[in-house]
């Protein structure tokens, strides 16, 4: 087990180099004047700037390998560079925006997983009966609806009509408290920090701003989880040991809870890992619609503006996250299912 983990971790730098190298290779396909558009973001900003001066100032005409080496050198010193699109150092940008997405993902995971499992269980229990059909269709509509459509509808109903859940992470009054001195930032997550600062009102305000995006995300992901749970449960439900349990005279409820569900949840657990990663990668559209400034939106904006410094930094970060999460999932999988041997 330990050697397995060690070997995986040793490969980590290889993965990260591969990822960043790919980006630099992509960058080499662009001309310096395409890259200078990071500094002149739109045609409206094009005045009589000398493009050559800008190219020279930011070193955009240097060959790619030179820039890669410089970047790696700086990285080893702990400097990820400055992001023009985010107006701050890359490390700072990630530190400020990632907690927002993390918070959203954590708050979303619970209803997604619970709701998905519940729906999946119902579907499996009532296999091929109307309830099964209904819950499947219900979930699939969520899966197939483009997220911005659903997001805007949620925003319209819960904010436009009812005025309950406004966009953004915090209300203005809470924001001004958080941004000015008194409030201490521990994690960057508004809910956690509010509790640690003993401000219950900010805590509830933060939760309130999470509800609409979480509703949107939940509905969008339920189908995914429902399907996995349902097919997994159906599989297990027909296994021999379940039949044995039934034959032994155990009640259906006990059979379901103790034997079926526990084993059926194995694939759910592994899938949750990739789901968390997906959520952490940043749900760009939800962040756009609800003005929830997380890392997804940060990276998407940076990519659109060709801010390679930022994209490199966030991809590096995300790559790190991915390898670690996959490692954890693989280890857990091996622990849970003894038939799988880690080689």
């Amino acid at each position: 087990m330990l050697t397995f983990i060690a070997r995986r971790l040793l490969f980590l730098p290889v993965v990260l180099i591969g990822v960043t190298l790919l980006i630099f290779v992509a960058m080499s396909l662009l001309s310096p004047y395409q890259l200078v558009s990071t500094y002149i973001k739109s045609p409206e900003e094009l005045k009589n700037q000398s493009l050559d001066d800008l190219v020279r100032k930011y070193g955009l005409d240097q060959p790619v390998h030179v820039r890669y080496i410089n970047w790696v050198k700086n990285l080893l010193k702990g400097d990820l560079g400055y992001s023009v699109s985010a107006n701050m150092h890359v490390a700072e940008a990630i530190a400020k925006r990632f907690p927002a997405t993390l918070e959203l993902a954590l708050f979303a995971i619970i209803p997604v997983v619970l709701g998905g499992i519940w729906l999946g269980t119902i579907s499996a229990k009532h296999y091929n009966k109307p309830l099964d059909h209904f819950s499947r269709v219900f979930a699939i509509v969520g899966w197939s609806l483009p997220d911005f459509v659903f997001g805007l509808i949620v925003l319209m109903i819960f904010y436009g009509v009812f005025g309950w859940f406004p966009p953004g992470r915090l209300s203005m009054w809470a924001d001004s408290i958080v941004l000015t001195g008194d409030f201490v930032r521990y994690t960057g997550m508004n809910t956690v920090d509010a509790l640690l600062n003993k401000r219950l009102d900010i805590f509830w305000d933060a939760v309130r701003h999470l509800i609409a995006p979480v509703i949107t995300l939940s509905y969008l992901w339920w189908a995914y989880l429902l399907r996995i749970t349902r097919s997994s449960m159906l599989e297990v439900m027909n296994k021999d040991y379940v039949r044995t349990a039934r034959a032994k005279g155990l009640t259906e409820r006990v059979v379901m809870n103790r034997h079926v569900r526990r084993n059926a949840l194995i694939p759910v657990a592994t899938v949750s890992g990739s789901m968390v990663l997906g959520l952490l990668g940043g749900v760009v559209i939800v962040e756009t619609v609800f003005d929830y400034k997380g890392i997804g939106l940060l990276t998407a904006t940076g990519a659109q503006q060709l801010d390679y410094t930022l994209v490199l930094g966030t991809t590096l970060f995300y790559g790190l996250l991915l390898v670690l999460v996959n490692l954890v999932v693989d280890v857990l999988y091996a622990i849970i299912d003894p038939r799988v041997r880690l080689e």
Binding site: L30, S31, Y33, Q34, L35, V36, S37, Y39, I40, K41, S42, P43, E44, E45, L46, K47, N48, Q49, S50, L51, D53, L54, R56, K57, Y82, V84, A86, N87, M88, A93, K96, R97, L152, L155, M156, Y159, G160, G163, W164, P166, P167, R169, M172, D175, S176, L179, T180, D201, W204, D205, V207, R208, I211, T288, V289, F290, D291, K293, L298, L306
Partner: protein, 608 residues
Amino acid sequence: MKAKVCSLVVLLLLLTLSVSVFAFDPETWVYVGGAGGPQTLDPAAAYDTASGEIIHYVYDNLFEYVGGDLDNIGPLLATEVPTVENGLMSEDGRTIRVPIRQGVKFHNGAELTAEDVKYSFLRGMLADPAGGPMWMFFEPLLGVQTMRDVIAMAGGPDDFVDISEVDPAILRKAYDLVDATMEVDGNDLIFHLANPYPPFINILTKGGSWASIVCKDWMIANGAWDGNPDTWPKWYDQALEEMTLYDKACGTGPFKLDTWDKSGAQVLLSRFDDYWRGPAALKNVVIKNIPEFATRLLMLRAGDADAIYVGQQDLPQVRTIPGVTVVEDLPQITNTVLFFSFTIPVEGNEDLVGSGKLDGNGIPSDFFADVNVRKAFAYAFDYEAYLNEVVLGAGQIPKGPFPQSLPYVNTEQEYFSHDLAKATEYFKQAFNGEVWEKGFKVGIVYNTGNDARKTALEILEFNIEQINPKFQVEVIGLEWATVLDKLRSSSLPVFVMGWLADFPDTHNFAVPFMHSTGTFAGYCGQGLIDLAKEQFDALIDAGIKATDPAEREKIYHELQRLYVEQAIAMPFMEATTHRVMRDWVQGFEYCPAYAANYDLYKISKVQQ
């Protein structure tokens, strides 16, 4: 178990709702703009409108446009506007004395002096960040464009990569040249211009964020240039984030900078109670950026936003909302122009020029160098349709390259119109009839994301293809980065761009559109550069030096006539703008020269 979970969830929901609902706050202002945000808050580097907006609230200039009227410049931090009549400006316009107001406080409590004013401009010029606005000082004061040019004037190289390469003696000489253009005399600042420059006062007027006045002592205390003639190179062309005023500010304006929350894309300001004109009505200001229109709209309807940015095409949705005021038909100093490249590189440009030859499958490199082709295109466009259907009437058809909101524009000039018969005639004359016979294929480009420009090109495509089935026009959308790259090599046969005035003077349009060293000459190929050198350069240089308004009018009218008669390009729209706000917003005043959307000093909120 399930019941317990459900009731817990409901309880939680109710708890969240219990906290703070919307309440009308007459002292807080929230503006939500679209995508984007400030790039820097340093007046010497900022050249985009989002940055200019924040600078407008935090700093003051020497002069302002009284009541937003471009023809009425009044004193602000100066006590008088220099003119020849009041003796503050010399007859030849080259020596200008500006008396500085006393008793004005900066945000840190220091008092404004003429020394601060000189420092503001001097440090800006010595820093001259690449791509910045400081050329507007170099041109009138020294007759050049950049600090690099000044170093060359002092005998140094103009192609150095790092300023440390240059001999310190030469750098000192360069410093002296710049220093000599501004002289502090008691409470006055005297400018010494290289040549007469009629719009110099406009450059210094509010709306020109680059002419904001900073506090010298505060700057030095915060790590800026200390005023020493030999140390200035250390601050030359720094990266934006290294400059002192990047995200900090100390001005004399009605609002102080509290925070620039970059990750939250918002800027927070608060009232400066010791503002020399008296404190503003608003106490807190929040300028946010949210790219999604629907979200902004909901915030406006809920009252969480006092005003928002609404794109032209979304305006019809907003007009009917109760409690919302829409102010329309606000004149701007801008135009949208269809440009032709006179010399198009053929290699590697097949998507746009096809075969590169006049054989019906492409266009040759000098296709648009033929004035008949240009005129044919200009008469094929349906100006009225664009104005009425795309821009929904918010604007007017141009009369030339200079927007009619500027002085010295000939509104009687005969201009292009939608006339397919004329267009056919010109096509038949083009390239001695070869164009008509063989036909052509060309790709015309807009930058993706811009609906209106795409539609303009589709209108052109539709009309041209009606004239002759051998004419093939393809409308192509390219990413802005690619457009910029292709512009540099003048590879776009036809492209649409706009120009927004820096300051309200015709010269500011004449140079980019018609001078051989102007922005668009560079993007329109060697053919235009040569033509400009031959026909326009001398006139433009004379126009900026002439102090007599009648003479200037003659010159700019002539330039306009030449431009239109030769169809150098096809200006097709001078759009007006609009503002969308809640009806409790009072005191809204508009000035076409201001970057700020709302002049917040004059705004108050009164619930209806």
